[in-house]
Symmetry: C2
């Protein structure tokens, strides 16, 4: 059944949620978005996601045509009307209709909701395999719609029987296309790259949680150090915490999800359940 | 007056040329295009542009839903119906509606026409100023819709009173966002970067023309060598040949358009007039 989408001051059915081919997202890939999870119709970390959405928009010089409170109201209306308890909400702002000067934007806002893919049980229990690839996302601190490379690299992943990419610059890890990367170092510290990344909301929550127990280091991290780590995992809104058991077909630890990763995943889950 | 656009098997008015917010161009910036000029309703270098369009699509694993002959037929219908003699034609192919796997595409094709901005007389007569910026376009050999950085950098240009960007990697020039870069070296050779670039159709035509008279070198070219050159210019479908008289506020030669640049522009213009 078609669900409602908020699109420029109106609620329309998904199959009528269309924008002009002249929109800057279509013509020039100029757009930002954010994506948040609903649990039991409760939007998770809504304020954190809105903070980042407004930050991304400001970095791209796109004025947001609605206030934070208006966006919250729209989201609550969508949740009420669509009634998809296990779902995700996408808030997107594009440059609007293309004019040649490129200096003035006429931003277009849409907010859509879709069922949320449950994280794979298999991935959580057995861990995932990453394949490294040298690439730096442009404007990494901004959540733009630029996922060209991650889509283009799907065959690269398949050829390597890997589940996800791990971007690096000169052997120094940045992030996965839609996730942040962590290790538990041989010294028992939780290490995650600090620069060249999008600062994930789940990354932030994990850092908050973990800081009660572990020493945290946000710093440069090489692929070699990661492969030699005790444990590794990625974090994202859709994946929460997923253990990483291989990088470039080399095992991390004994090649199984580690106890600290599993414990952090449990604590994150508890925190989410307390939030809603 | 609204003009016709070809959009997925139909001709529609521009103001009805809409695509889903779920399209991969909107959600994931996954799309290719090409752009060609019309002179007196004649599409210039149509076969060259179609060659590149099909190449870009193949590189992005996007099957083109129409044959080359069908696309030509659509373009001729648009030209006939719209009757905008001095215009540009955009042929764009997107990944189509988004599905989470990302591995299968359902490409969407549109072909649109719009009046063509006449190249600035002032720019041609006085030359343009470039501002260098370190950046490598992703998949540079593919004409994707990714112009995020060039739009984002508009204030960088304004602050430097520059007309256009000049991308480089570690001081070695690649290209401008929508143009190729050439110099006339102190040895009187025509030099243009060979790698990390989109191979422009106008670049190809200029190389063909110039090879009758000049020694051509397609090779690595530093910003320093460019600033020390006798002359410099950029080429593109919209700009044809424009003299470059400054890079980073440093004059090239005496700071005026050079005689070889002017002569090549004249020859290119003659060639275009012979073509139509």
């Amino acid at each position: 059944m078609s669900k409602l989408v908020y699109l420029q001051d109106r609620f329309v059915n998904t199959d009528k949620a269309n924008i002009s081919i002249l929109d800057l997202s279509v013509q020039r890939a100029y757009a930002v978005f954010d994506f948040l999870r609903l649990i039991g119709n409760h939007p998770l970390h809504l304020d954190d996601h809105l903070n980042r959405f407004f930050y991304s928009a400001e970095q791209m010089r796109l004025p947001v045509p609605k206030s934070r409170e208006e966006i919250k109201q729209i989201i609550h209306e969508l949740i009420w009307e669509n009634d998809i308890p296990a779902s995700g909400i996408r808030i997107q702002l594009t440059g609007g209709n293309f004019s040649d000067g490129n200096e003035f934007f006429n931003p277009l806002l849409f907010i859509s909701q879709a069922p949320f893919p449950a994280p794979s049980r298999d991935h959580f229990e057995n861990g995932i395999r990453l394949a490294s690839y040298e690439y730096q996302r442009q404007l990494p601190h901004v959540k733009s719609t630029d996922y060209l490379m991650s889509i283009w690299l799907q065959p690269y992943l398949s050829e390597r029987s890997a589940d996800e990419l791990l971007y690096h610059v000169g052997g120094m890890i940045t992030e996965s296309p839609r996730s942040n990367f962590f290790i538990l170092s041989q010294e028992g510290k939780l290490v995650t790259p600090a620069t060249g990344i999008l600062k994930g909301i789940t990354r932030m929550k994990v850092l908050q949680l973990a800081s009660e127990v572990y020493t945290i280091e946000e710093r440069a991290l090489s692929i070699e150090e990661a492969i030699g780590a005790k444990e590794a995992f990625i974090t994202s809104t859709t994946k929460q915490i997923l253990p990483v058991t291989q990088i470039d077909n080399r095992k991390i630890g004994n090649g199984s999800p580690g106890p600290v990763t599993t414990e952090l995943a449990r604590r994150l889950n508890d925190m989410v359940n307390r939030t809603i």
